[in-house]
């Protein structure tokens, strides 16, 4: 197709220069939090394995996870977990064609963001 002019045609915005709407960023963040949660899950399983190994090893693992740094990582994981949880539920409804209207999506955006923060604080208050 040598006669096609490929140089002067308008281009659609590339992903990197296009300002994504909030809903897309939240969707990407769901994937990122999902991948990051492996770290949290591995730490939790390590805590159990240490408990099965010996009381001395468990004291070290339990102490590390309840130190300020451990708490920082776990609270971060907790928020990631609730965010993934809230947006996962929204995606589940979308899979069945529910709540896909624009107004409904922009409302549920804030439910997901607010819900993840509220659930994180609520969990910290309960435990």
């Amino acid at each position: 197709m040598a006669d096609v002019n490929r140089g002067n045609r308008p281009l659609s915005p590339h992903l990197q220069v296009y300002r994504l709407p909030l809903v897309s960023n939240l969707s990407i963040l769901t994937r990122i939090t999902g991948v990051a949660l492996i770290g949290g899950l591995t730490l939790v399983i390590w805590w159990f394995v240490a408990g099965a190994y010996s009381p001395g090893y468990f004291a070290a693992a339990d102490g590390l996870l309840s130190s300020w740094f451990g708490i920082l990582v776990l609270v971060g994981s907790l928020w990631a977990l609730w965010f993934h949880f809230c947006n996962g539920i929204r995606h589940f409804f979308w899979d069945f064609g529910k709540g896909l209207e624009l107004e409904s999506v922009s409302r549920s955006n804030w439910f997901v963001i607010g819900g993840s923060v509220v659930l994180t604080i609520l969990t910290l208050l309960i435990v």
Partner: protein
């Protein structure tokens, strides 16, 4: 099998050869994780930082041990198929893609087995 037409043998299976099975398992595990996450987090958060006695007091109870085993098993399953989708989307070289997929599966199954075995041992030693 031999009596099926060629079309019937592949109908609904798609390019991956297993149809919507993967999609369905992802939904099944996410729905299961909704109650399991809540049931797991509360006793775990309370036992965390409480030392060895708190561990035995919590996971020496059958119910807490059972929820923790179910949570870890289903979460590792959900994680293994979730990471598989991420690798399939972003890793394009075949050798690297297959290697990463194998590593993901081995890591998630090891993680699940280690967690479940540890909780069983804690339950019996309490």
């Amino acid at each position: 099998m031999a009596f099926k037409t060629e079309y019937a043998q592949v109908h609904g299976l798609g390019k991956a050869g297993e149809g919507v099975h993967h999609w369905w398992i992802q939904r099944l595990t996410s729905v299961a994780l909704v109650p399991l996450t809540i049931l797991f987090l509360i006793p775990f958060g309370r036992a965390l930082g409480g030392g060895y006695e708190a561990l035995l007091a919590t996971y020496g109870q059958f119910g807490h041990a059972l929820t923790a085993i179910l949570f870890i098993g289903v979460a590792c399953w959900h994680f293994s198929i979730g990471i598989q989708v991420v690798i399939e989307d972003y890793v394009h070289g075949k050798a690297l893609r297959v290697s990463l997929l194998i590593l993901t599966k081995l890591f998630s199954y090891t993680l699940a087995a280690a967690g479940i075995l540890a909780i069983v041992k804690i339950l019996f030693s309490a």
